[in-house]
Amino acid sequence: MSIVSIAKWIEATGPARAIAQSTWMFPAAETVHVIAIAVVVGSIAVLDLRGEVMVLVGSHHLVSDGFSRNVASRRVDFDIKRDCAALSEPLFSEMSFEASH
């Protein structure tokens, strides 16, 4: 079964026809798709990179001192095992700004 025949089969199904004939279904699906990808990618970018990017762009003063120190020390004695262990901890548990407020 070639990719073209698979595409043609999908095209002929009920949902495919409904989406093709509707004026709003395709844009609506696209919009929800973009918002969903934004939340997924945004969470990875903002939480996984955390302070590292801030430190790289020299705006580490934007995050609290404790947080920057935490990030700085992680960068100095980088330990893959500890970093992997840290990933399984609850999201905000190691963010020092909790203690600073």
């Binding site: 919009t31 939340v39 903002v46 700004f97 600073s100 407020h101």
Partner: protein, 162 residues
Amino acid sequence: MLESLCAWLEKTPLSTGIQNVGWIIPVSQTVHILGLAAILFSALSIDLRVLGVGGRRTSVAGIADHFLPWIWIAVALMATTGAILIIGEPRRDLLNPVFQTKMLLLICALLATLGIQLIVRGAPSLGGPGGGAAWTLRMMAVLSLALWFSIAICGRLIAYFM
């Protein structure tokens, strides 16, 4: 007036340059969506914390301190890539009612975000870990979420009008 602005803009060397180099517009669009990703998630994090839905282990001020810089950096990134897209294809955007609505909503969203920042910075102890937040702040959070999501929707729908 907008019509003549577009006519002038699309003849500028900057605009023709963007039009002639094939990768500039797709790259700008991609970076623009990555900026949207940072804003939507940051706004969700702050606003849901303000509303007491999530992140209750950290104070409202703690969450805001961490995520607000991301919003402002991403806004700058989106403004830059957005400007490139407008200069490259002025008619597609400036004359589009969806784009015009989006810009109006953007001004409101920026004001709402600034408002949240001022309220939170003015009262760092507000809604300490586990607590809720003041009524005005909650209203601003709902408004902020509605505005940023509407902006994202308008952004996608620009392609469907005109």
